[in-house]
């Protein structure tokens, strides 16, 4: 009898604890879900805050960073002497490797007409180091910008680059408007 009684008490404790847990879990769920009911959020970096420290290239959990340079053509001057494509103080303005600023040669340059050139980012080669971004920002219009490519980003709980970003340029943004590049047509 004593044994059985003890058993029941235990059951009771268990049941009430379970109920307590269930209530708190439900509470958390309700509290948070009401706040989270909006599709999805993703990590993105704000080019206006970016200082091109180079950590996007090295800190992403992916082997080659999900941060890529994007080219906002609307802002581009199509210059022959491109601060983002050519190393400073190159003698010749051509496609020779020694003239290219990009460490992985991820920018292609195409002639349109004198004196205009189109610059395109070869996404597979881009490591997101931001070197060209800095060059373009210093001398050009800033049409080259770093952005997280959402095809590649696995959207970690905590973005590893955001953790080390010195300029707090990373934030969660709504997935429906997942890019923060400048010169966007609003």
């Amino acid at each position: 009898m004593a044994e059985k009684k003890q058993y029941n008490r235990r059951d009771f404790i268990n049941n009430s604890l379970r109920a307590g847990i269930a209530v708190s879990l439900a509470g958390i769920t309700v509290a948070l879900t009401t706040r989270a009911l909006s599709g999805k959020s993703v990590w993105q970096l704000n080019p206006a805050k970016c200082v091109q420290c180079g950590r996007c290239a090295t800190s992403c959990i992916l082997e080659t960073s999900a941060v890529k340079c994007v080219h906002v053509y609307d802002m581009c001057g199509y210059c022959d002497l491109c601060g983002g494509y050519l190393r400073p103080d190159t003698k010749e303005l051509n496609t020779a490797a020694e003239n290219q600023l990009c460490p992985t040669s991820a920018i292609s340059r195409k002639y349109i007409e004198e004196p205009f050139f189109e610059y395109q980012i070869i996404e597979e080669l881009c490591i997101g180091c931001g070197k060209c971004v800095k060059g373009c920002g210093a001398f050009g219009n800033g049409s080259l910008q770093l952005q997280i490519n959402h095809k590649l980003c696995v959207n970690c709980n905590q973005c590893a680059i955001a953790r080390v970003c010195p300029s707090e340029a990373f934030s969660l943004v709504s997935a429906s408007d997942a890019y923060l590049y400048q010169g966007k047509k609003m």
Binding site: E92, N94, T95, A96, A97, Q100, S105, S108, R109, K110, Y111, F117
Partner: protein
């Protein structure tokens, strides 16, 4: 269970290991690499530019034949005596009276400042034909402006303060021109036959001056004297054959300026004086040392030098340049057989007489010039000084009479001054005062900087795009 798991893991590991090894064995790590070479942007190559292909004097066209009875000569830059004074005994007008000046004829030219020479009733001008993109030596009849013939060759130029800016040098048998990109050409002045051509850039590695060649050639004893720069500082070319008979070395690597060579005689020795970019030089013009440097100085070395040296005394030269350089007066000194240079005066443009583009005139032992734009309060005014002290300006034309970079010439004891907007001024000038006789707007143009030419009572003048001829004989 345990054993089975182990077996599975082991098998997987072995399979993966073999697969990895095979992959590694057959993997070509460089297969995706491409070489980045120039030209991947598909930029069209600029191609051989026209001037490297220029065949000097290759094309010729005769329009009409013409004979003139006129004998007046204005055979080179600053006239036969290189003083910019017309010494013909023809009476020229003091003013236009009630009638406005009548333009005898006019002709359109390529943009620039190249001015004509006049020889026995014919006008010669090295024009730049913008349509054909070529230097063209054009011959006109002085009295009616009809073009007689032209000889041309392709040169690709972009306008930069115009394109053309030199005067030919002409004698009975030869006419020598220098084109904007340093192409020297020699022709027969009567029929336009080509005698020879030298591309100074190709032959002497000359750096084409800023705003193209401004130097006007000189012919002495049927030898064309040309200041070069590059591999040679000066050359003498036999006009008949085109053979370079002497060549002055260029040890200091001085460069060609817009200034022209002035022949002088000092201490019984004929010599050529030239103000290069880098310094002033005297080159022997006769004797066994012909073509050798007699003296040089780099005490006065403007970065741009357009006016030519002016002889203001025995062995005394006045040299001026624009763009802040100012002026210098130098005195040559001969000790035994060596020459040296003494700088008598050197000053900034605001401190004394100076010029940016036109060469001052020494007339009646006084020096006349238009002050450059950095010439202090007298800027752009016509000024006079005694060459014994160039820093003391005797008078200035007046604040209302500013002439910019226009040319001026002395004829029949009068100054003919062309304001660079196309207004012609007739003035008397002496050591004491400036007397404006008359002025009239002849052309409605810009940048009338090309030197004036007067012969047989005809005045030739140009602005940046056309040349006009007016009759200034007293009726």
């Amino acid at each position: 269970m345990q054993n089975r798991t182990e077996k599975i893991i082991l098998t997987i590991v072995i399979v993966i290991a073999i697969a990895t090894f095979c992959y590694w064995l057959y993997y070509n790590p460089v297969k995706d690499l491409t070489v980045n070479l120039p030209g991947l942007d598909n930029r069209p190559s600029k191609g051989e530019s026209a001037d490297t292909m220029a065949v000097i004097g290759e094309k010729f066209k005769e329009y009409t034949t013409y004979t003139s009875s006129l004998t007046g000569k204005w055979p080179r830059f600053r006239g036969a005596d290189i003083d910019n004074i017309n010494k013909e005994k023809i009476k020229l007008i003091d003013n236009w009276g009630s009638s406005r000046p009548k333009i005898l004829w006019k002709t359109d030219l390529g943009e620039g400042h190249a001015a004509p020479v006049i020889y026995n009733g014919k006008v010669y001008l090295l024009d730049y034909d913008e349509r054909k993109k070529s230097d063209a030596l054009r011959c006109f009849a002085l009295e009616n402006g009809i073009e007689l013939w032209r000889r041309w060759y392709s040169v690709n130029l972009k306008r930069n303060h115009g394109m053309s800016r030199t005067l030919p040098a002409i004698t009975d048998k030869y006419i020598v021109t220098i084109g904007p990109k340093c192409h020297v050409m020699c022709c027969n002045p009567t029929n336009g036959n080509l005698l020879w051509g030298i591309d100074l850039v190709k032959t002497y590695k000359v750096e084409v001056p800023l705003w193209y060649t401004g130097q006007c050639p000189l012919i002495v004893n049927d030898t064309a004297i040309i200041a070069v720069g590059g591999n040679a500082l000066m050359i003498g070319v036999e006009c008949a054959s085109g053979k370079v008979v002497w060549k002055t070395p260029n040890p200091d690597n001085w460069k060609m300026s817009h200034s022209s060579i002035i022949p002088i005689t000092f201490g019984g020795k004929k010599m050529y004086v030239y103000c290069a970019i880098g310094g002033i030089i005297g080159v022997s013009a006769e004797g066994i040392d012909k073509g050798e440097i007699l003296w040089k100085t780099d005490k006065f070395k403007p970065s741009v030098c357009a006016p030519s040296p002016v002889i203001i005394g025995t062995g005394k030269l006045f040299i001026t340049a624009g763009y802040g350089a100012g002026s210098a007066v130098i005195q040559l000194i001969k000790t035994d057989s060596t020459y040296s240079v003494n700088i008598i005066q050197q000053y900034r443009p605001s401190e004394g007489i100076a010029s940016e583009q036109q060469t001052p005139i020494l007339y009646n032992n006084f020096l006349f010039s238009i002050q450059p734009k950095d010439g202090g309060t007298a800027r752009n005014q016509f000024v006079c000084c005694n060459p014994s002290n160039c820093k003391t300006i005797l008078w200035t034309s007046s604040k209302a009479d500013r002439y910019g970079l226009g040319p001026y010439i002395v004829a029949d004891g009068k100054f003919f001054i062309l304001n660079d907007d196309g207004t012609l001024i007739i003035a008397k000038a002496s050591a004491t005062k400036f007397t404006l006789l008359d002025k009239a707007k002849i052309m409605d143009g810009q940048d009338a900087w090309g030197p004036l030419a007067i012969a047989d009572g005809y005045l030739l003048m140009r602005d940046s795009k056309q040349m006009v001829c007016i009759d200034i004989k007293t009726k």
